[in-house]
Symmetry: C2
Subunit: 281 residues, 2 copies
């Protein structure tokens, strides 16, 4: 496995793979790899001839400078995890390589996909930052398939729209959320959830489970389902930033809960902000 | 030569070329092909294994609906010209194929490249429309080299910045402006320049020639050179929208004229707006 820092090194390393018509799988990450990322790398390894992992804490998608500053950086461990997962090539550029002249270009989606939920709470610039860096990474790596975690459900939809609207020749593959044994969704930010907050963090999964249970109990009204979920979270002393039941493609709020509806939740827990989601079945 | 209307037909047609590691040359146009486009196609033919021409009057780069409406459409003649020039594949999509859901994504450069000159007079949305459609076309065609006419000097710089800032694996090749025997730069809009306006249209080239002559006479002050050029244009009864002497890379105005400086001019002539440029040598 090789670790490269520059676009030209990466392109050189991939030149032969492209000539041989190999399938290139790409796992873009911000590092601080956990079992969720491992699932992405493993699926890429199973499905593709060449697997590229990128590690880049993208400054343009952080609305909160403190969040950017304390975002965990664990490159040595990440490289070891990539090696174990059978990654062929790690692209770990410095910010200067990605934005040598600052933020002079932006790829911007419009509409509820980027304006609602995470876009409303972090600002739509968050997703503009995501689509811009993903467009750059797609042009740098030129993958056939790119793997994203379903934990960031809205990001999966945003990246899918990016590919469709700009005609990238890339397939987006969402990979199921990996959870701790007690149900907490894996997240790089979990390292900052300590002590009593670790138990409070279970509120998100409890809210999602409650939505399914309320639905299973026969309730179909979205407001009623949401109210029950918020109450379930309150028992963990957590107040959601949002808890919504939305169309799984458009993210528009649903009045009536139905199979396939997406339940999304965000909440502050101690020093961080966590998100999670589930699909009603 | 084949003419295709959809992205999937185009991709199918190019699949073999890509497997064989052929060099793909791309000439994006809005149709109404003239000798300037022929020069682009011929250079692509000389330099590449496969030549793709696109014909698409991109609505998102027109600030003026009247200009869009009367933009000449001559597809039958264009296809014949492409065939004569040895083009392999013509991509002529309908707007519905390029924007099935409307303008839901935008690729936006920031700064003087898109805000000044054409950007100031047509609005910076003009260049946002250009960068968005070119990004889409690059992802659809995946060329190795893309050919653009130097007549649209600012567009060449904008597209070069697009490639650099989004890391497209494409080389931009500018091709020298082709002129009528009397010096008028070839343009699809020239068909609307009739009668006495045809003679007045020579004002642009006269202004550019005057700048070189004034420089050759020893003048180095940009304002003085510009004043002489505006006077030369006035003798054709044409008043420029702008006539500027700028850095050929950043488009920033120069105070002192030097070799390599770019002289750019735009002027209304009869029912249309014409542009032209030259480099001081």
């Amino acid at each position: 496995m090789r670790v490269v820092r520059t676009v030209s090194e990466l392109r050189d390393a991939l030149r032969r793979a492209r000539r041989e018509d190999s399938t290139i799988g790409f796992v873009p990450t911000m590092g601080a790899l956990h079992a969720g990322h491992e699932a992405l790398m493993e699926q890429a390894r199973r499905e593709c001839d060449v697997v590229v992992l990128s590690i880049f804490v993208n400054p343009t998608q952080f609305n909160d400078p403190t969040d950017l500053e304390r975002y965990p950086r664990t490159e040595e461990a990440d490289v070891a995890a990539a090696e174990r997962a059978g990654v062929d090539l790690v692209f770990a550029p410095f910010a200067q390589e990605m934005y040598p002249r600052g933020a002079t270009i932006e790829v911007r989606l419009a509409g509820p996909l980027v304006d609602t939920l995470e876009g409303a709470h972090r600002g739509s610039d968050h997703f503009h930052g995501v689509t811009t860096v993903v467009a750059k990474l797609f042009n740098i790596v030129q993958p056939d398939v790119a793997y994203f975690g379903q934990k960031d459900a809205q990001q999966v939809l945003v990246v899918t729209a990016l590919v469709r609207e700009l005609n990238f020749p890339v397939r987006i593959q969402a990979v199921q959320t990996v959870r701790e044994p007690d149900g907490l969704a894996m997240s790089s930010r979990n390292v900052h959830v300590q002590g009593r907050d670790r138990e409070r963090a279970l509120a998100l999964k409890a809210g999602l489970d409650s939505a399914q249970a309320t639905y299973d109990g026969g309730e179909r009204d979205a407001d009623a389902v949401i109210a029950a979920s918020v109450a379930a979270m309150a028992s963990y002393e957590v107040d959601p930033e949002y808890l919504a039941i939305v169309d799984r493609v458009t993210l528009e709020p649903l009045r009536t809960v139905e199979p396939g509806a997406l339940v999304v939740v965000a909440a502050p827990v101690g020093p961080v902000r966590l998100i999670d989601n589930a699909t009603i079945h």
